[in-house]
């Protein structure tokens, strides 16, 4: 068993035992099983899948970091929303707002641009999760 903690600035989203967890890292999706080697990696927007008793749970992840030590997985991200909490409308709006912001590229400072780009990536990742599930 793995002990998984998912913490965002708003709250502790998840703190429990799981069988395995898949993380969207900068280098691609990786799956952590018990007895994984100690690892520190950075998370990018995507889907975070955790499995417990062959039941799957899907979360949308934002930017952040993950630290794996022995049988502990600590995930610190700025967004971690369970699939059912995602609201398509709100995400669409966030996406549009980010796109509008990006369109005014020349008026933005470097940070503002980076923030808007990050928001867009997060919105896109959430939408992907929402839509993919519906098709099945």
């Amino acid at each position: 068993m793995l002990h998984l903690q998912i913490i965002t600035p708003e709250k502790t989203v998840f703190d429990d035992e799981v069988d395995q967890v898949s993380l969207p890292t900068e280098n691609g999706q990786i799956t952590i099983l018990p007895h994984h080697v100690a690892l520190v990696t950075s998370i990018k927007p995507g889907e975070l899948i955790l499995k417990k008793h062959s039941k799957e749970e899907l979360l949308a992840a934002g930017f952040g970091f993950a630290q794996i030590t022995k049988d502990n997985v600590k995930v610190l991200v700025d967004l971690a929303a369970p699939e059912e909490e995602l609201e398509e409308k709100a995400i669409e709006e966030a996406k549009k707002a980010a796109e509008v912001a990006l369109a005014q590229k020349h008026t933005l400072s470097e940070e503002e641009y980076a923030t808007a780009a990050a928001n867009l990536q997060k919105a896109l990742a959430q939408l992907r999760i929402k839509r993919r599930r519906r098709r099945i």
């Binding site: 903690q5 913490i7 502790t12 990786i30 080697v37 520190v40 990696t41 950075s42 970091f65 030590t69």
Partner: protein
């Protein structure tokens, strides 16, 4: 008679004031609850991030990151965070006292909150930036401040960045706190981790890249957290101050009502006395 009317007028005015303070108390209580909740729920994230950095210590110290490296600039930067508005008891005063202790001619200031700004101006301090604490979302404010602090530090304009804010402990207790933000130090009790066997760790994509992202993020999160703490402290302090004011007002009203009744009774007795004396004369 004039005395009685005077007392009545005072009672009325105190009652009106207490109505205002009571309303402010209720408003602050509502804001306080929200701010406290936010502060407390974001603490795990901040401390987990800090913990992670401490555990990466062997790696960060291999080649010293620019946010860990000390420089020899004589200047220091103080980020002072107060409330925008008053009615918060001794909160801002305590912070100002801490700030005075830190200040010498080489101290530069970034101030957040109107009270901090007017304090710095009065001190004749070198203010490089001033913000109001409610002009934009905290995360944006934190981002701006973090960038300024990191820039000043990496350009070696300042050798240390300190935060002065009131740490929220409970509704009735807020502690004025001075914290060192930069260079990031992982010493003291936290250094105990050094003696433990540090397991070999993998880094993906690479240690440098992770640390490059992690440390600035830590600075940002730290500032964000203390902005939340300050807000929670402010509303708590205001709630308590207003509650005390309301209580004091009702005590005062009780006192004055007693005096009023005495004066009224006195005048009635005098009148009665007059009537009786007059009657006695006619008989």
């Amino acid at each position: 008679m004039t005395q009685i009317r005077e007392i009545k007028r005072r009672i009325k005015s105190i009652e009106n004031t207490s109505k205002v303070t009571h309303a402010m108390e209720l408003v602050s209580a509502a804001k306080m609850r929200k701010a406290q909740e936010k502060t407390v729920s974001s603490r795990p994230y901040t401390s987990a991030l800090h913990q992670m950095i401490i555990e990466l210590r062997p790696e960060t110290h291999k080649n010293l990151h620019r946010l860990l490296k000390e420089n020899s600039s004589p200047n220091q930067l103080v980020i002072l965070i107060t409330s925008d508005r008053g009615f918060v008891g001794g909160l801002n005063l305590n912070l100002a006292r801490e700030a005075i202790k830190m200040t010498n001619k080489n101290t530069k200031f970034i101030v957040v909150g109107k009270k901090a700004l007017s304090f710095a101006v009065k001190m004749g301090a070198d203010v490089i930036a001033g913000f109001q604490s409610e002009e934009k979302p905290f995360i944006d404010l934190a981002r701006t401040i973090a960038k300024m602090a990191v820039d000043a530090f990496t350009k070696a304009e300042v050798s240390g960045v300190y935060l002065i804010y009131s740490k929220f402990e409970s509704t009735i207790k807020q502690v004025p706190t001075v914290q060192k933000l930069l260079p990031i130090t992982l010493t003291g009790a936290e250094a105990g981790i050094e003696t433990e066997e540090v397991p070999q760790m993998l880094f993906e994509p690479s240690a440098d890249r992770i640390i490059e992202r992690l440390l600035p993020h830590h600075v940002l999160t730290h500032i964000y957290q203390i902005l939340l703490e300050s807000k929670a402290s402010e509303h708590s302090a205001r709630m308590v101050a207003m509650k005390n004011a309301t209580d004091a007002a009702s005590d005062l009203v009780d006192d004055l009502t007693l005096t009023y009744n005495q004066a009224r009774q006195e005048s009635i007795t005098k009148e009665l006395l007059d009537i009786i004396t007059a009657q006695a004369v006619f008989e």
